[in-house]
Amino acid sequence: GAGVSQTPSNKVTEKGKYVELRCDPISGHTALYWYRQSLGQGPEFLIYFQGTGAADDSGLPNDRFFAVRPEGSVSTLKIQRTERGDSAVYLCASSFDRDTGELFFGEGSRLTVL
């Protein structure tokens, strides 16, 4: 597609539920990133994929968070047993392989945990 696409744009769920957030990167971009942006804060790094593998998952806050990218394109961020503190905007970005320049961001998925 023309840009990074994220679905859903908004998700409201109850504490304890399971949530999946999807990211469709720009075609041909091999690098994919997930960030989390809490209210009043800048984006915080969660995980980075190079192709199908997670090259760096050091930002995942705990083992309730997991992300996959099975075919090296679309990625899904999975959150188990959601907590109110997980409420945030989850941003996905992609970039060209070996490019130390621009990350192209999607509009984000706003997650609200009641």
């Binding site: 800048g42 984006p43 090259a55 941003l91 970039s95 621009e102 990350l103 509009e107």
Partner: protein, 117 residues
């Protein structure tokens, strides 16, 4: 650990006035530095970036930024602000060593720019 500080949470300027948004970073090596803009309902958009070379960097929409190693700063400037520049601005530092794959960014908390007519 790498960090980015944007000291101003909010800034208000008059349309047509000049603008400077401050950014200070902490990073042990030569930094890759970025400014992004986020408008309501839109994704982050890159304004400009610094990797090496000329310390004054030109970006889109008439923005520029100057890298000052001695001050660990990368301030964003615009000579004449337009109402459409009202948005939130984020400074970021790239943290992977040069030559490695990827570009993991550490962001500042952002500065909200308001433009008054």
């Amino acid at each position: 650990a790498q960090s980015v500080t944007q000291p101003d949470i909010h800034i208000t300027v008059s349309e047509g006035a000049s603008l400077e948004l401050r950014c200070n970073y902490s990073y042990g090596a030569t930094p890759y530095l970025f400014w992004y803009v986020q408008s309501p309902g839109q994704g982050l958009q890159l304004l400009l970036k610094y990797f090496s070379g000329d310390t004054l960097v030109q970006g889109i929409k008439g923005f520029e930024a100057e890298f000052k190693r001695s001050q660990s700063s990368f301030n964003l400037r615009k000579p004449s602000v337009h109402w459409s520049d009202a948005a939130e601005y984020f400074c970021a530092v790239g943290t992977y060593p040069s030559g490695e794959y990827g570009n993991k960014l550490v962001f500042g908390a952002g500065t909200i720019l308001r433009v008054k007519s």
